[in-house]
């Protein structure tokens, strides 16, 4: 691995972290453009929550159209989460994805929660942002600073329209875009997110050159085994 192109001073640990507690946000687009696929989306999200959340995990449900709203704040109670998903309704006017991602990432990294855990945000949308005040770069920067892995489930019937922006948004954080145009694809997409979340590794290192100057450090992780593709955040900000 490298930090700004340099080998780290030392590697401090390397562990499989499938059991590290998870702080999960599900960010649901409730704008009118997703109305046709919405019931299937709700069903797939409920199944995902049932299969993914463990006793040490907390989840939250956030909806967005022109702005983000917390439908269910962080809880470990599965009934409360699935109930909140079940009650959601689509049909609002505009879509502000980048604003909603920023708000959700800040919510996921709230200071009152100091336990050591992983943070992930699953964005379910057709990807058509038409009213964000923030730019995509702001959303990426907030995700990186909050150390949130962002996944996007793209429900657009023509995913090519919105894929490049969603890819940019997610791959910088170590997440990815998955396509889901119907009920079976939605279930498959959630299953892939679950697989990735449950098969993570945690690597700790001391960079060769580090100062608290708020600069961006590029991280590159690769494997020696042929055929593997690594998903990890593209870097971090050198803050205190």
């Amino acid at each position: 691995m490298s930090d700004n192109g340099e080998e780290p001073q030392s590697l401090t640990y390397f562990v499989r972290q499938s059991d590290l507690p998870l702080r999960l946000g599900i960010l649901v687009d409730v704008s009118g453009s997703v109305e046709s696929v919405f019931p299937a989306q709700q069903q797939a999200a409920e199944i995902f929550l049932q299969q993914t959340l463990r006793p040490s995990d907390l989840g939250s449900i956030i909806t967005f159209s022109d702005q983000a709203r917390v439908a269910q704040d962080f809880t470990g109670k599965l009934d409360a989460l699935t109930g909140a998903v079940h009650r959601l309704k689509a049909g609002e006017a505009s879509t502000a994805i980048y604003d909603a991602v920023k708000t959700s990432c800040k919510n996921l990294s709230r200071e009152d929660d100091r336990s050591f855990h992983r943070r992930a945000l699953i964005l379910i949308t057709d990807g058509e942002d038409n009213s964000s005040i923030s730019k995509i770069e702001d959303a990426i920067s907030t995700s990186l600073q909050s150390e949130v892995v962002l996944f996007a489930i793209n429900t657009n019937v023509v995913p090519a329209f919105t894929d490049s922006l969603l890819k940019k948004l997610t791959e910088n954080t170590g997440g990815r875009v998955l396509h889901a145009r119907g009920p079976s694809e939605l279930k498959m997409a959630f299953r892939k997110v679950n697989e990735q979340l449950r098969n993570q590794y945690l690597l700790g290192y001391k960079p060769a050159n580090w100062q608290a100057d708020h600069s961006f450090h590029k991280i590159h992780v690769t494997t020696l085994r042929f055929g593997l593709r690594v998903h990890c955040r593209k870097g971090y900000y050198a803050n205190e």
Binding site: D3, Q196, Q200, P207, W210, G227, H231
Partner: protein
């Protein structure tokens, strides 16, 4: 004359104490161990003072990552296509 000197001295002391409070910032909220520490010069001030001499400060960085095997992904896709 002496009163004027005393007044000047008081002004300097007030300015210095205000400066020290500003450097220490709002301070920790409610923790008995950290309230004892707050009586000492702030760690932030010490770090800043040391920054000139110590150009590189080391901290630990955590990276979470996962890896997917392209061969497994490709075989799944071909299996799906065959079943269709």
């Amino acid at each position: 004359m002496k009163a004027r000197e005393l007044k000047a001295l008081l002004t300097v002391v007030t300015a210095l104490s205000a400066c020290l409070v500003a450097q220490q910032g709002p301070g920790p909220k409610t923790d008995s161990s950290s309230s004892a520490l707050s009586a000492m010069p702030s760690s932030h001030a010490l770090t800043e003072a040391a920054a000139g001499a110590l150009s590189v400060r080391v901290r630990e960085v955590n990276v979470l990552f996962s890896a997917s095997d392209w061969r497994v992904v490709l075989s799944r896709i071909s299996r799906c296509q065959t079943s269709r």
